[in-house]
Symmetry: C2
Subunit: 224 residues, 2 copies
Amino acid sequence: MMVRKSKGIGERHQKILGFIESYQREHKHPPSIREIGEHCEISSTSVVNYYLDQLEKSGYLERDRKISRGMRLTGNTPLGDMLRVPVLGVIQAGEPIPVPANADFSSFTSEDSVEIATSLMPAKEKGKELFALKVQGDSMIDAMVNDGDIVILKPSQEARNGDMVAVWLSERNETTLKYFYKEKDGYRLQPANPTMKPIMVKKNEQVEIKGKVVMVIRKMDRLN
Amino acid sequence: MMVRKSKGIGERHQKILGFIESYQREHKHPPSIREIGEHCEISSTSVVNYYLDQLEKSGYLERDRKISRGMRLTGNTPLGDMLRVPVLGVIQAGEPIPVPANADFSSFTSEDSVEIATSLMPAKEKGKELFALKVQGDSMIDAMVNDGDIVILKPSQEARNGDMVAVWLSERNETTLKYFYKEKDGYRLQPANPTMKPIMVKKNEQVEIKGKVVMVIRKMDRLN
DNA sequence: ATAATAACCGAACGCTTGTTCTGTGTCAAG
DNA sequence: CTTGACACAGAACAAGCGTTCGGTTATTAT
């Protein structure tokens, strides 16, 4: 029977796919067959072509034969102007926030993720290591964040006055989204809704800042 | 003095720019110099090159000389997977909503607009004629919409139960964002914030539905 | 009128690049 | 062992394509 490693895509295919992606990101256009060969240690253009055919049959990329550099990634196309932000989990009042593991940003191939046009991003955050969380429950309404909203965060353990942060109040066993202000006797966590009162946190209470909120997205799909 | 029409970009430049854009949309890759020539009635490749140089100097496109089809539009790159939604104005409690004029969707070249990844869109709304409004003031907080948020709307004069709509209550002289429910004696306009009470509108009161809310985007730029 | 300049044409040149063809070594099934 | 896939190499070919250069025409400033 066929125990050949040739099931699905192999290491070589991965490498080519990855190279196309990074090359495209850097040069704004796809690489040529020969360039792929060089950077993937394939000494023959025909072999690269061979792999490209397979990748096309497997649906990983589309090709325009005859057109120079006529290839594009499908499905997972981190097209120049978009950021793919992984949705790492949910955020709700009663549970800690799932913060990204150390080197978690590289390996989110077909996971759950949201795409953001970079033009929507505050300039400073472009290309940063962002992650997203889906809001579960109504517990964040005082931050003007609804059930089902997606919050996009930048990992951070500190904050400046005025930043909206996601914090874990270990003594209250609570996760919240609040504007952060440092006061002389502690911290003031200000709800986004101006009609609601802030939470005052004394210096001895433990606040764990998990990240700064960069963006909130609310999709109005079908009822609620 | 120079009264030559050669100030800025001319008709020919526009045509080339337009062709590159439409070609890219159709073929997923830029056209060659010769293809531009054919479709813009320019019989010499050197002339196309001549115009391309000018467009590059004017900042309308970038070029990778020597690389086949090495050009890309700058500034206004409606890249395959994105929607460009025009921001038609602001929405605030005290004023009516600026709804789009009849054929307003075609001519928003360099106006204010936001780009949305189509993958974020509810499937049904893709490619539809959407418009965006920037929220001004805190008057929409009961809809969980903050000052500075961007709401993306689909033009509509009617709504189904559960839709979030932008309505103009002419008798109250007020614009609001509410969930829409039809009741036997009128309409119920339900705030998104579940702690707040709905507005009951009697049948004789006039409610003008201006559009359904498709998405809300909140950018946390710098303080507030 | 004249010189300068912008707009434009056509052809030739040559590099880049995808394609194709022949050939080699490996591995598993029969 | 033989057969036949699969993975791979290398060379040669031809088409695609950007570049360059000599030349022409119209418009404008002097």
